[in-house]
């Protein structure tokens, strides 16, 4: 009896084990062959949901987990990691709207759709100024238009200031013969201070309001300083020695960082609008993207991206004003192309052969357009539609290569200086908007307080 029951129970065990297994198999099978009309809910993770309802709270209430510094670190980590991971891309074009069968829109829609009037682009320069002794050197940067609406141009050893508001000209400084000529000028973001790069490797900082030399930056370079770029209080200088130096103009030992990557003269230098990334182009045909937060002086390769697609010197650089990580770069005489880069990933988005050396590039701040200036044979300025890269206009007038361009603070007028020793102004980016009668806050004291009657 005893033995029999034991036998039967063991028998049952084996029997019950078998069906269990079978059942399991069946279940797996049934999962694969679901009825096509009954949705499979395996994506609804009930275990996870239960955890979130019961346990998840505890973690959230813990203040240590959500400290702001930790959040920021996590965010940054995710960002840096994301660079090597998948990108989510969206097809940006708008899908067509369904056609309404009842044309009730015809009456209402038409006035609501104001077609933008086509912008008239004058084909000739609005104004031409003489620029005698302008050094015809592709690698220099001798023209800049500051936020104070004053244009600075270096002619030989002298830096001149042209006030665009009243058309008056003044001389900022004439450099001694042995130190000159001036190889670069750049306005600080405040529109008052101006940096002047010299042939003798020094950089001078001037206060334009009272024509005063504030300080001279020495020791950063061994040869001429042909490119300058401001990032708040950081003045970045690029030299013929291939070095790029970040100078903090506020402190005594001004050299903060040195970027080594170019083997020849650095002729293009631009900070992105965010101040996070620096683009530098050199005579070694290389375009570097440097990241302010990644760069540290002890790592062997400090650059974020080293882009070697250009086949001639990269001087023309322009960061897109409406897309933070989009950079346009133009190549010299042997390359003649404008290339577009996603500086986040280092991917080349487009390349357009312009047929002529690209000396300078400017984005239109108001429209999706790009202006390029060229050399032989037309010496023209070309306005491109972005991203289609259809030519909108070709502006001719200069009789030698258009070396430098600068944009007025309102973004409408472009100044160009060329090897023909003229400075021309073009109304290429549209007429300045009539200043709206902005409700200027009356500077009455305590205006924000309720009045006591």
């Amino acid at each position: 009896m005893d033995a029999g029951s034991a036998h039967s129970s063991s028998n049952m065990k084996t029997q019950s084990r078998c069906p269990l297994q079978e059942q399991f198999l069946q279940r797996r099978n049934s999962r694969e062959n679901l009825d096509r009309f009954i949705p499979n809910r395996s994506a609804m993770d009930f275990d996870y949901a239960h955890y979130m309802l019961t346990e998840g709270r505890k973690g959230k209430e813990n203040p240590a987990v959500s400290s702001p510094s930790r959040e920021a670190y996590r965010k940054q980590l995710a960002e840096t990691l994301n660079m090597n991971r998948t990108r989510i891309l969206a097809f940006k074009n708008k899908p067509p709207t369904p056609v309404e069968l009842i044309p009730h829109e015809l009456t209402s829609a038409q006035p609501a759709k104001p077609t933008k009037p086509r912008r008239y682009i004058p084909q000739t320069s609005e104004r031409t100024l003489d620029a005698p002794d302008l050094v015809d050197d592709y690698y220099l940067n001798l023209l800049d238009w500051g936020s104070g609406n004053i244009l600075s141009i270096a002619l030989g050893n002298t830096v001149y200031l042209w006030n665009a508001s009243d058309g008056s000209t003044s001389e900022l400084v004439t450099i001694d013969e042995e130190n000159g000529p001036v190889t670069s000028v750049s306005w600080a973001p405040d529109g008052r201070h101006i940096a002047v790069g010299l042939n003798n490797s020094e950089v001078q900082l001037w206060d334009s309001a009272d024509n005063r030399l504030l300080r001279t930056l020495r020791g950063g370079h061994r040869s001429r300083v042909g490119s300058l770029a401001w990032n708040n209080h950081i003045l970045t200088t690029g030299g013929m020695d291939g070095q790029i130096v970040n100078n903090d103009v506020r402190v005594r030992s001004h050299i903060v960082e040195t970027y080594r990557g170019h083997t020849q003269e650095v002729c293009g230098l631009k900070w992105s609008a965010s101040g996070q990334q620096l683009a530098s182009g050199g005579n070694d045909n290389i375009l570097h993207i440097w990241d302010r937060s990644v760069a540290s002086s002890n790592s062997p390769t400090q650059w974020l991206h080293r882009l070697e697609e250009h086949t001639a010197a990269v001087k023309a650089l322009a960061w897109c004003p409406f897309q933070g990580n989009l950079l346009a770069s133009g190549g010299g005489g042997g390359d003649r192309s404008i290339k577009f880069w996603n500086t986040h990933t280092g991917a080349c988005l487009n390349s357009v052969d312009t047929g002529s050396q690209v000396c300078s590039l400017l984005w239109n701040k108001n429209e999706r357009e790009l202006l390029s200036s060229h050399g032989f044979t037309q010496n023209q300025l070309t306005l491109w539609k972005y991203p289609s890269m259809v030519k909108v206009a070709e502006l001719t007038g200069h009789t030698s290569r258009v070396l430098f361009m600068a944009q007025s603070p309102d973004g409408c007028t472009v100044a160009s200086a060329a090897g023909d020793e003229t400075l021309r102004f073009w109304n290429v980016f549209g007429v300045p908007e009539v200043a709206k009668p902005a409700p200027k806050a009356n500077p009455e004291p305590f205006a924000h307080l309720n009045r006591i009657r």
Partner: protein, 199 residues
């Protein structure tokens, strides 16, 4: 069994996605039903938009998708349906493309076709449990691509366009020699509100 190359395979998935877009646009009423005509494909009657603009739009997407597919750069294809009024994402169809290592196991044409049929039937069937859309909707196509993919200018970085408080339903997966596609639809959870009239 004739050998099919990997590129054929991708073209197959690419084509399939084109019909997926059309089916979803029709079934979810993004475009009026008059715009669609039936086409025989994969042994099914597929509804394909006849509107020239819609056709051109989808064609543009497909040409780039096929390029990426050939290089196996894509891990997910997504169709997001958004409300035109609020701009809110209301429905999100996700097709996960798994790049499986090609193994000895090969599939016959008819098997693949069967798989495809079942997925389209499922899309059609899901209309029964998906909430009604108000008809004033538009759609977008997203792609999860490898970071090193070449990106033309019409495509830009985007967020995942996930749906808030989504209900998710996994549909049946479908696979071919080198790819496997999992389908997931997520939609806005609709609260049922009972209105009690006080008499």
């Amino acid at each position: 069994m004739p050998l099919r190359t990997a590129s054929n395979e991708s073209a197959l998935i690419g084509n399939k996605f084109e019909y997926c877009i059309n089916t979803i646009l029709f079934q979810r009423g993004v475009y009026p039903p008059e715009d669609f005509t039936a086409v025989k494909k994969y042994g099914l009657n597929m509804l394909v938009s006849q509107d020239d603009q819609v056709k051109a739009y989808i064609k543009k997407i497909m040409s780039q998708l096929n390029k990426w597919m050939l290089k196996s750069k894509i891990s997910k294809l997504i169709i997001v349906i958004t409300s035109k009024e609020t701009g809110e994402n209301v429905e999100r169809w996700q097709f996960d493309v798994c790049r499986e290592k090609a193994d000895d196991q090969s599939w016959s044409e008819s098997e693949v076709q069967q798989e495809i049929q079942s997925i389209f039937r499922q899309i059609t069937a899901s209309v029964t449990f998906l909430p009604m859309l108000d008809g004033n909707c538009t759609f977008n196509v997203l792609v999860y691509a490898d970071a090193d993919s070449e990106v033309p200018l019409e495509w830009g970085d985007s967020d995942a366009r996930e749906i808030r408080d989504a209900e998710k339903v996994q549909l049946r997966s479908f696979s071919t020699n080198s790819h496997r596609v999992d389908t997931l639809v997520s939609y806005r959870h609709v609260m049922l509100v009972t209105v009690v009239f006080d008499t």
